[in-house]
Symmetry: C2
Subunit: 205 residues, 2 copies
Amino acid sequence: MDFSSKLLENAVNEVSRLPGIGKRTALRLVLFLLKQPKENTTYLAEALQKLRTEVKTCKKCHNISDTDFCEICSNLNRDSKTICVVEDIRDVMAIESTAQYRGLYHVLGGKISPIEGVGPQNLTIDSLVEKVKKGEVKELIFALSSTMEGDTTNFYIYKQIEEFGITTSTIARGISVGDELEYADEVTLGRSILHRIPFEQSFQK
Amino acid sequence: MDFSSKLLENAVNEVSRLPGIGKRTALRLVLFLLKQPKENTTYLAEALQKLRTEVKTCKKCHNISDTDFCEICSNLNRDSKTICVVEDIRDVMAIESTAQYRGLYHVLGGKISPIEGVGPQNLTIDSLVEKVKKGEVKELIFALSSTMEGDTTNFYIYKQIEEFGITTSTIARGISVGDELEYADEVTLGRSILHRIPFEQSFQK
């Protein structure tokens, strides 16, 4: 692309570094900002800068937070002995929105993935094992996505905490509520038959 | 969405104001920035701010430029008597990348669209008419997209410059090079038959 302005080119280049945003989309976004009042660009730039420099991670669960301990970890009404292991904050938000879980979380910050150069040392696994070692955990729920990387990460953590004899579980895999059986993939359908539950439980909350 | 951090919520809200970016995408982009070095966010924020505050529009063609007169308008090798009327900078870039046009441009900054509240006074039509009036223009090429709004804008401009007797033209509409006839819409196919050109011209450059 040939730009008539270095400033424009620079802005487009920076925006197109974001994932899933190509040069054309970046140009569209930048031209949109140019048509808007100047304050809007200032708000956007400041919000990003402020977030990047001031945001903290909760010292207990590693979730993104404005304070040293996040709202969930500071909430005394929650069951602090049950910990749900998730990949990132989006998973926390997804589980929180179900309003079905009253325990705490542990945010790993990713999954073990040799291809992407992510090893156990890049994740918060040590601090999770530490919690288990100290006897702070009664049940650990693995809620990573069920991919090769997710399963590897689960297994790696499991091997490290096995000796402490706490309860471990993994979220149920099965056919989504409302989904047609015929469109389900074989692995999911297979698992949902293997791990079938007593019928009376299916309409309990 | 329930955010665990006000800073995060604020950043996501600002990013999701951009066109075509919803809350989920905004969250993905913001979390990406959080995983990157701090400088990257600074570069992005500064590039946007700098562009918004320092960029100029060319005093002659209204294209985005770092200087008072853009590179195209300042280029003495170009035919300054031929002016191509386009909607915005993206059209200039598209035409420039063909390397088939040696005249200048006039960037309107939009199309007349009563629904979106864009009237002739919001565009740079007056300055275009002024150029024609002063005898600076020999040919005017209309290159707006052929929608209701584009055609209206073309006609509005045409009516204002009709009396000065300059040559006016519009870019050819027809089947794209490489397209199959059977998939073309009727209007385009119809026009391409009406405005057929002598066969010998079709392989001239």
